[in-house]
Symmetry: C2
Subunit: 501 residues, 2 copies
């Protein structure tokens, strides 16, 4: 006899398949679609998104979830049944709060704000984007009211990317990161000459770069039998099932870092998806639990693994073999230091491992000020530049390299940015725990081996998919809530060594 | 005020978008998907196919079509409105005839028959496939009854690929082709040494092949701003809109023909889709009207254009520049003759322009015998080999190179094969008409220029999409029904010259 829970899952499978087809439409748009195909693609994506939403928010679905919850009342908290139902209840309540009118207006504003942003950035002319950003801020304010909140309107937005996390909690952690990292950044700045990044700034043939990126992503544990490497302008990872989780990267002819660390970063994301438990197949739990936890997996592979000394001791010889003319004159230690150069910069996506968080903290603080009405949109460029000076000690020469650099604010997506920095902090805390629980992980890492680390991540994080909220997961895995401590210990030790502080 | 017709189109857009998403799932499966992604992909495709079908076959849709037909009763036959409604009425009636039970069984048998066929072919063991083919034949018989027919059960099946065409009509044409082509094939065989295909059988670096295929497909009129070239095992073309119509081909390291003629063939298909009228956007009319007419466009580009002397006089120098070592010792005339070698072979997909039709006629005759019960499945291998001897004068050494070579019979798709040969005949008849109406087309073709030809195809064929049935189209365009005459004239003139008959 079919249980209510099984009947519910059958309906969820259909919606899931639609959403995965939608993700393929999106993946293909970035990787293969000819530009003129975009009009039809937007229509196709809009249709699938609408159908998936309509199927999910019916009254019948609400009743089915409720009866399944009653039926499974005795399922243990950790069980797949209880976890599926927790997620579905929460997601259903959220989706029902989004009125069709809001969805339509939000989509219209985003559609028009994006080209306005492209032009504003190209001309470094904030005035062109200002009226759209004003509408985006209003949409964010409206969204916070639709979702509802207890203390802080920003909570309602953050919650969509980092479920159950509160603004006050993030603020306390970010303040501690600032307090500890600014002196470290200043000490490094005083010793900037200690690191030369010339090795990575040379001509590098793209075919060889591809060969190397394929080799190192496979070496850290990304499974190409269940994966695919594509080329795009803005790298991302996506998955259509744990058995088809794809990565993308970009290739610069005269700068190695974007391809290497982009590839490792996206492989970290995709390995999380590849590692979800097969029993979660075709359900919304078969993916990473939050953007922050997802980012912890990508940052783990990009930085803690990919920018470690052991990693380059293992892989530098094969990189030299591909590029003897460029690299034979540099020792592995030179290369290791080159990929770890700390240098305050204007552009978030080019930032190093230490200063990256400052870019995020700046956006986190400005988003709150805009949302609460403490900052008018017209004053954003000045506020941006003031904060850049405070946090990074530099002032952008223009708004294109300042407050116009990111696409994110062309849609009502406030609350997304903080997850990037949370990822760095989660990653450090997870890694510290992993090594404490299994010291072999550290000795293997010193030789560039990640098998033990990945096994630990699979067991403790990947397999659970979305069964637990990020707060529950970090508590289960590390025995305490997220804090700045592990990250500060990690960067202090690493950069004190590299910069001989 | 919204008309009933407009309301109907709104519903059709949704179904169309689902079907295009389904086609992308399928395209991606062949081009990019890692093999292990297949389980989920089949689930996703099944879901989208089911949703599209369910949305279309509702009673409400039937009523909406009927009221729109009444509303548009005065629309001219050629109008988009009348043409859309003719197609939708017909398609709706067909889809309603397919019972869910039949669809389910058909899908199950196909799903299991395919791996059985793969194994049977690999081992050249017909007995492994026989029980599945028996079920496929039964499903074809059942399908003919579901669809219904007047004279011949095969009519019901053929109709799905070549709407309104009758078996008797195809038989008469194919018999005439046989009668005229067998003596020509025999005359060529007596003079086989006149052509040497050594030039195309040499090592050819794949990167340069890609460069050349891209250049010649663009040269004949395939628009890469609205297209994409991918690599697959079995080439095909697909379109998600006229502005995103993709081609694929394959690359052999030591044989040029598959990449060159595969690329030109698929470009012909995709140019048809790129040429459909923008007003047909997002409707079922925005694609080729039948498999046979579609094949006429691919064969036109592959053979009438791509295997013409003028084409190679224009493009051979750049091919020589890419492969000087292989080709500088051959004149353009040598190369032209090499790509036109006629040689009876066992495998359909490797057949030349003249003998290809025999492979199809054989399948057409055997499908009817199986369907009518005149041939038992167990006797197929013998019947196959007898017909090969009659039509091509050769006998396959085993069933893998005989009746097991094609995937088509692993699904209930009898009626599909004839469209391949019909395409050759349509192509010749269209081309003869085009040149008669505009002699510039022939003089330009003698210099490898296709602009005038493509403009004629756009005007007379492409833009109409599926507005007319193939019978209507060929009558409108050429002033008479399809016959074998133009094809026979074309191959007789061409091969008499090449083989000095």
């Amino acid at each position: 006899m079919t249980t209510k829970f099984e009947a519910l899952l059958e309906k969820i499978y259909t919606i899931h398949d639609l959403e995965k087809a939608l993700m393929l439409l999106s993946w293909d748009r970035e990787t293969n679609m000819p530009p003129k195909g975009d009009t039809a693609r937007i229509d196709q994506m809009t249709t699938l998104r609408r159908l998936a939403h309509e199927m999910f928010v019916t009254d019948e679905m609400g009743e089915l979830i409720a009866t399944a919850v009653a039926e499974q009342a005795n399922a243990p908290y950790d069980s797949n049944e209880a976890s599926q139902l927790r997620y579905l209840q929460r997601h259903y309540a959220d989706q029902r709060k989004l009125t069709p009118d809001y969805v339509k207006r939000s989509s219209e504003v985003s559609g028009q704000a994006r080209p306005a942003w492209v032009q504003a950035r190209a001309e470094s002319n904030f005035a062109l984007f200002q009226p759209w950003l004003e509408q985006v801020v209003e949409l964010c304010q409206e969204l916070a009211e639709l979702y509802g909140y207890e203390d802080d309107p920003y909570d309602a937005l953050l919650d969509k990317y980092e479920p159950n996390m509160k603004t006050a909690e993030v603020r306390a952690i970010f303040d501690a990161v600032k307090k500890e990292s600014i002196p470290l950044r200043q000490a490094i700045a005083a010793n900037a000459d200690a690191v030369d990044d010339a090795p990575v700034h040379q001509p590098f043939a793209i075919d060889q770069q591809k060969q190397f990126v394929r080799a190192i992503t496979a070496a850290i544990g990304y499974d190409y039998d269940r994966g695919h490497l594509g080329t795009v302008v803005h790298p991302f990872a996506t998955s259509f099932t744990r058995d088809d989780a794809r990565i993308t990267t970009r290739w610069y002819p005269d700068f190695l870092n974007p391809a290497l660390f982009g590839g490792l970063h996206e492989a970290g994301h995709a390995m999380y998806e590849q590692g979800t438990h097969p029993d979660l197949y075709r359900t919304p739990l078969a993916r990473g639990t939050s953007l922050g936890i997802h980012e912890s997996q990508s940052r783990m592979m990009e930085n803690i693994v990919g920018r470690s000394r052991g990693f380059w001791e293992a892989h530098y010889p094969s990189l030299q073999a591909l590029f003897p003319e460029q690299l034979n004159r540099y020792r592995v230690e030179d290369f290791y230091r080159a990929v770890n150069k700390v240098q305050p910069s204007f552009i978030r996506v080019e930032a190093d491992e230490l200063t990256y968080n400052f870019h995020i903290i700046l956006r986190f603080e400005l988003e709150q000020a805009l949302l609460n009405g403490d900052l008018a949109v017209k004053d954003l460029p000045t506020a941006w530049n003031d904060k850049m000076q405070e946090l990074l000690g530099v002032t952008p020469p223009n708004d294109a390299q300042g407050c116009l650099q990111d696409v994110h604010w062309s849609r009502p997506g406030f609350g997304y940015f903080p997850t990037y920095a949370l990822g760095n902090l989660y990653a450090a805390q997870f890694y510290e725990t992993a090594v404490a629980q299994n010291p072999t992980i550290a000795t293997a890492m010193a030789q560039g081996q990640t098998t033990a680390l990945v096994a630990w991540l699979r067991e403790n994080i990947h397999q659970h998919g979305r069964k637990f909220t990020p707060g529950e997961l970090v508590q289960r895995v590390t025995g305490q809530p997220l804090s700045h401590h592990a990250f500060v210990r990690y960067v202090t030790a690493k950069f004190s060594d590299i910069y001989r502080l």
